[in-house]
Symmetry: none
Subunit: 207 residues, 2 copies
DNA sequence: CACGTAACCTGAAAT
DNA sequence: GATTTCAGGTTACGT
């Protein structure tokens, strides 16, 4: 069963904002092309236009987007719109990210931003679902050194990525979403932190 | 056995200059990309910077280089530096040359200049090596209506192209280099002229 | 709007 | 082992 890691159960958005450092934007399950020789990541149009708008003036040659990963490492990607395929893509720099993180088709890339500085972007990832609950994650099985909360009220509601067994709760104008099945025992935060931070070089663990 | 056509045996540079009309600069064995759909010829950096320097002032958008072929026909190519690949290229005009000369991968393009007018450039070519010594060259098997001598004293001394069985002689400040094995019978000039000029429409043959 | 070509990008290989 | 080179790709754009 897939755990939706950043949509933790009964935490209010305000409470989350206090000790969570990232605002989730969207996820992209990687296609074979996303991790293959095309050296590009297609960003679903609805997310691209909502969070990374290219309003013409943004530059016909696209722009450079800077992200931080779970270790605080900086990643800069060229972001542009391809008329030929009518799609938004990350190009230059993307293949290096795929290689360093050993990403494969089915793995999921997570985009987020700083709640108080919307220009500060983060990129995370996790291994493709199916094994997390069945076995302890191997080292480097996922990346992000912090908690997340959703940025808006309709995360993938219409997308294929939405977990149809999840539950939603609207608090303080923000919808929260989480999985009901197979709740983790004990603290709701520890497994998440354990999972995401076990290999984090900056030491942001749940201790 | 490949004949090094412009590095003829015991001819002094001065003698050569009297009746040879071209100063050899360098050769480029054509890659599949050089003759393919990329419509560009990559000029090895060492040769580009030595003979076709683009000193910034040459124009960030490159410059137009004019050459004469074996028939005296004028060819103009756009010559520029690609920052992305850190390489010097001939672009505009190149594909027409490839098509007219029927150049294929492995064929060799030869660059030369006028000894007394260094701004006068020549471009020649020959079919890929391996058959010249084994069989008489077919019509249109190579192009250049003149003799060549090396432009400088260290042609590929450190490169892979240098024939390790060749001999060198320094005369008048110019190193000459030639193969000792399998010397051509008779005149040292006739095979060269025969080979390069057999199809020359202007009739500059060895007659 | 299809085609030709300029410019950009990357991986592999050489150094 | 980091850097440079360049062959082989890509997209973008002008005609």
């Amino acid at each position: 069963m897939q755990i939706n890691h950043w949509l933790s159960p009964p935490i209010s958005a305000a409470a989350a904002k206090i000790h969570l450092s990232k605002e989730a934007l969207f996820e992209k399950p990687l296609t074979p092309s996303d991790v293959g020789k095309l050296n590009r990541l297609v960003i679903p149009k609805q997310h691209a236009e909502r969070y990374f708008p290219l309003n013409g003036g943004g530059g016909e040659k696209g722009l450079l987007l800077g992200f931080e990963d779970e270790a605080g490492k900086s990643w800069r990607f060229r972001y542009s719109y391809w008329n030929s395929s009518q799609s938004y893509v990350l190009t230059k720099g993307w293949s290096r990210f795929v290689k360093e993180k050993r990403l494969d088709a089915g793995d999921i890339v997570v985009f987020a931003r700083h709640p108080d500085d919307l220009g500060r972007l983060f990129i995370g990832w996790r291994r493709r679902g199916g094994q997390e609950a069945a076995a302890p994650p191997p080292p480097n099985s996922g990346g992000w050194s912090g908690l997340l909360y959703p940025a808006h009220s309709h995360v993938d509601i219409h997308g294929k990525e939405r977990n149809r067994n999840s539950k939603r709760l609207r608090l303080f104008g923000v919808n929260l979403e989480w999985d009901e099945e197979e709740p983790t025992s004990g603290s709701i935060e520890e497994p998440f932190l354990e999972y995401y931070s076990s290999h984090c070089p900056t030491g942001h663990t749940a201790s």
